[in-house]
Symmetry: C4
Subunit: 241 residues, 4 copies
């Protein structure tokens, strides 16, 4: 596998090429819910099948931060809408920013088959984008919430400022009781990387609330995935794994 110089992290322009040339155990796109890669895990197959019926034309774009012990990928998950009698649409489910963590398994080598997901809600994004340079916050999710599996899997995401104020740690802890696992994945962000995340999340937030479609009805909701029935798995992509 090709080895990168320290310049790598300074010229993100080349990042994508490098990933293509290098051989990996899994890939952030490889198990993407909307991709048609063979490596997709069984638990998401139903969901993927539904989406494959979609006419296409959607765009998938993640912002990645690759560090020594883990990598973090993030991308917006759009809200869904329901048509009402009048021919108008009402937002059904708010969007989120999906964070995907993967552990490093060698120098600049990440195992995306062992990924862990964390979907930031609108309010959590609000907390994140208002963090001062020495602030911290922590969010707790239970993918089984409101179901018989409540409490079986507990996820906590801590965002902690570096002590010198130059960046943050994104640390995800996932305790899975049935599988008796306890995963901890931590990715340091520089000030620049956090600034990209803040700017991108601030941009996406009105869309996650559906407000961009209120101010611009031309956007339409046709291209936004609308499940026929309320499907627990579709409702929480965090279940994917």
């Amino acid at each position: 596998m090709m080895k990168l110089t320290r310049l790598f992290s300074r010229n993100q322009l080349f990042e994508q090429i490098v990933w293509k040339k290098a051989g990996y155990v899994g890939h952030p796109l490889g198990s993407h819910p909307f991709s048609s890669n063979a490596g997709i895990s069984d638990s998401t197959q139903n969901f993927t099948r539904t989406v494959t019926k979609n006419a296409g034309g959607r765009v998938f774009a993640s912002y990645h931060v690759y560090k020594g012990k883990a990598a973090l990928s993030m991308e917006p998950c759009m809200p869904t809408f329901t048509k009402v009698e009048s021919g108008n649409f009402i937002m059904d489910r708010r969007g989120s920013i999906m964070l995907t963590f993967a552990p490093a398994v060698g120098e600049r080598k990440y195992d995306w088959t062992r990924k862990q997901l964390f979907a930031l809600s609108a309010t959590e994004i609000g907390s994140l984008i208002s963090l001062g340079p020495r602030d911290s916050c922590e969010f707790f999710h239970d993918p089984g919430m409101l179901s018989s599996t409540a409490g079986q899997v507990r996820k906590s995401l801590a965002i902690k400022a570096h002590t010198d104020g130059n960046g943050y740690f994104f640390s995800l802890n996932v305790v899975n009781k049935p599988q008796n696992t306890n995963d901890y994945l931590s990715v340091p962000f520089t000030t620049g990387e956090f600034s990209v995340m803040k700017t991108a999340c601030s941009f996406a937030l009105p869309s996650l609330l559906g407000w961009d479609r209120v101010t611009n009805p031309n956007l339409g909701v046709g291209s936004v995935f609308q499940p026929k029935k309320i499907d627990r798995e579709a409702l929480s992509l965090e279940w994917e794994r």
Copy 2:
């Protein structure tokens, strides 16, 4: 009725599902001016009828904050435009952010039939989005202003920073002399919730001024409600109740 764990407020993704499963006295969408629900109040029927003629395709999306004593819902109300001789359009009436308060009538149960409205003007939004973490502001509205009913209903909205700088109280007081009522509804916002509101309002503000349609004529004004005659009730959705 289903009881939620404390995780509820942390994972807004599940909020909408929960609301659908629970039984409520009224619903934020139930008496929405653009919905066709039966529970709509008489005073808004004329307005609703007008809008029903609309071809549809609009999107309605609110940001809700549910707390112990009351809930607050907010969404943009777009400006209206008038066609002039040249075939061009001039903004007729600025848009606003409509705040809807509803009192709690039990644990996580809100009575939306007793809602109170407050339409934030562009300048009031400007005040709100420039509030520092320890600032406060207060706005006064008289829905009967400039008419024979002036002074009969007085509304004041106070936005006050928590003493520890971690969030704000949104408190609406409505004094209705003819009905001899004095309603007080207060909803605490966390820093994250206020940050969502600030970001969403900053996003919507140029649209409320019509500037998004100046910079992008493709947006059109066709989908924006244009009353044939100046209708007091249409002009102030605050009258709805």
Copy 3:
């Protein structure tokens, strides 16, 4: 003429209605370069005629601040583009934010026939939106710059923070040597009004640079006014008067 209560400035929603009911000496829209009102001044007729040929469909929307001694209206003036051989477009002239001042001639009565214009450039907007709560700045324009009339008319716009940090004064001074006039128009802005202006100008700035059309080619430039020949008057709307 109808007299307004102090609530007027608090509920901008009603502003437009009031203006229509009241009788004025001139009107911000009355002498708008793109309107077809009879009251338009001779000096702008050529320019207006050119624009009238336009197919229509444009939207005009100003943000107004009405105060005791003067009123200030602002709106974006979009950039112009030139088609190059390849079928692509290159920005020809940057856009600006046009400020229009009018003196008060009675209680809440403004004489828009005596308006004074000041077109904020991109860099001037940059200065304005980065002003701290106690900062000030001043801009100087010479509409005759680079021509034989250089120095005949001198305009200076001062934006000065209130001493208590709660808002700013926008003060325009226009010295016209040929007409031997010296006009001074000053409008105080509250923190909320300045925040609206900052948010709206920040929103418009990428459009004034043409960057919204770089990131979204669908916007097109067809609806953007493109003068056939370089026309001094079209190039500086400040000449209008």
Copy 4:
């Protein structure tokens, strides 16, 4: 050549006219990669030819800052996308903000044939837009990175706050070993100019990440250049010279 008064920098509106009237050694648009000017260098011909096949309709717009010793022009370079089996698109290569420096060769005269390029990555833009009024940062690029020419050309861009906090210096140093040259180009930015750059870069950043196309699939990727094969030169516009 026409001489400009100090008012020049204050009224950017006239900037473009002036440039057209004046005679220059080269022009920022003259050697633009997408233009069809004869003066384009051999090394970019392949790339240019590919783009010429494009149906046209794109918009090119730069923000320029002209100072005593050098000029700096900046514009967004959009990301590219790859179509996947499902008919959807995945971002292939992130966009960047291309900075172009040119040395002054006389009073307000710049030699764009001696331009130097520096493509700011998303993360570098993040650093730039989060700079405080007294902060500084430095970026290092090696256009030959990952190839046999690694280390032959070294570029460093320093952004340093003025000691009084009123603006920044943008200083580019390019050491080219094979050509035995060492170019240093420095452009001071006022607070207003830096604010324009920050606002424009913050606006463009979500587009450079492809997130605008995630939230609005209508934007399409058809107009975004998609190279058939991974072409080193196309991948780094910095090679152009």
